[in-house]
Symmetry: C2
Subunit: 256 residues, 2 copies
DNA sequence: CGGGTTATTGATGGTGTTCAAGGGGTGTGG
DNA sequence: CCACACCCCTTGAACACCATCAATAACCCG
């Protein structure tokens, strides 16, 4: 099911102890689950001090998602917000006639729920087995009002997302097909680097269709471009992803 | 220079008194300039109570921008943030080879400076004569840390912008040319409605090239589509903009 | 092994781009 | 006040990029 690359970088650590709501957080001597959380230092929780983290932990609820499972649907009442702790989540919007735009992919450390109205404006589902930390949205927002550093961190996250969204607008609006795919691989690789270190191996837990729907292309175009790069030894086909052989030429496809 | 439509909806009110930095805010009995500000209730300032607004006002600096004048350039050190009080500002990113993506247009009440790193990631310039309220970014952010409602408001703004950005990704990634132009006119009209009320007249202070660069199209395509709509009596050419004659069919071009 | 899904590859065609020329409005200077 | 220049927009014709259609191949999982 999951390939070697996915296991190495994205998939949940099966040896990690199963988590429970942190009732134990109030018991002296009991280790907080947040303390052992692998995204503790990246995620929004990093805004909470070790002393304050229990306030957040009390609100948290651990969630394991099998592969290809919906987390929520566009239009659902937006009751929860999430932090991804492992795996990969696909965020998408659908048009009535079946056209699809993949808004983005959430990876470990990412926060889902920033751009929320009363209802979710996009759908979210897992690509691979994933784990999330779930919070009641109302309670989470209430806490953020009591803990300014948390709110600041949320705001920082939102502005960062906004910059990424603007980057992507340039890709969708003004880049040619080849440039789009190159930009995608390079950026996805860069985001992975924060979680699992810089590597020539780039796991791609999403399918070609997902990449196409993210880049405003068809699956055939994505496939053809990547096939050409493989023939030209720019990338190498690796189960579960690709390996970048010629960074130079891949970046060169961006000409900017 | 400015057409009737622009004057009516977008341009600065020349009869408004010229503004000065609000030194007078601390003088008892002296009216705050924010009190008479036309975007006081829409902009981020709405998060500040009438009592607290002077803290913000002290940091503010009024700015008048002639038409087609740069506010800042991508790459500039991001020293300021802004609130638009009148006019219209174009936000764009440029590629090395001259391709351009218009990220968005800011109108009265809009806040510019959400997605900021140390340097501006996009350029901003006025389309028509515009007025802005300028703040030192560092001081503004410091104040937001002291006034949680302001920070909350900034965060709300950021999430709202993020939703708009995601909407636009769908337009750029999965909409046909005609749908893109329809979506643009309808959304621009809707945004204007908040400032100047609902109207069939839609001022378009930006040029066809700007619209094209916003929608990932060429100026010829935008021109052809709008010309066809004019022949079909769906819209009417009005100096400085268009008038929507057949809301039904224009919305129908979106099929969703 | 077999069924279904996903990816690849090829042939053809359409939507929007590119190239090119002309129109219309506005501001300026004679 | 008119002439001219400039810019922006419009319109037409040819082309290109990517989409569509179609068939096969690879893969995964039951």
């Amino acid at each position: 099911m999951t390939s070697a690359l996915e296991d190495a970088v994205i998939s949940p650590d099966v040896e990690a102890p199963a988590r429970q709501p942190a009732i134990c957080a109030s018991v002296p001597g009991c280790k907080s689950i947040c303390e052992t959380c692998r995204v503790r230092l990246y995620a929004v929780c990093s805004a909470m001090s070790d002393d304050d983290i229990s306030d957040l932990e009390i609100l948290s609820h651990h969630l394991d998602l099998p592969p290809r499972t919906p987390l929520f649907l566009a239009g659902d009442s937006a009751r929860h917000v999430f932090t991804v702790t492992s795996g990969a989540i696909r965020l998408q919007r659908d048009l009535a006639d079946g056209r699809r735009q993949v808004i983005g992919f959430a990876m470990p450390g990412d926060f889902i729920g920033l751009s929320l109205d009363e209802n979710y404006s996009f759908s979210a589902d897992s690509l691979v087995p994933s784990s999330l930390c779930r919070f009641e949205r109302a309670a989470f927002m209430a806490l953020s009002r009591q803990k300014p550093p948390l709110l600041q961190r949320l705001h920082l996250n939102a502005t960062h997302e906004l910059t990424i969204a603007q980057d992507h607008m340039v890709v969708l609006g003004r880049r040619r097909a080849e440039e789009r795919v190159a930009a995608f691989i390079l950026r996805w690789r860069q985001r992975l680097a924060r979680v699992s270190g810089k590597s020539a191996n780039v796991p791609l837990p999403m399918g070609r269709q997902d990449i196409a729907d993210h880049l405003g292309l068809t699956i055939e175009t994505v496939s053809r471009i990547m096939a050409r790069w493989m023939r030209d030894r720019i990338i190498l086909d690796v189960p579960g992803g690709v390996r970048v052989l010629d960074d130079e030429r891949l970046s060169g496809a961006l000409s900017d």
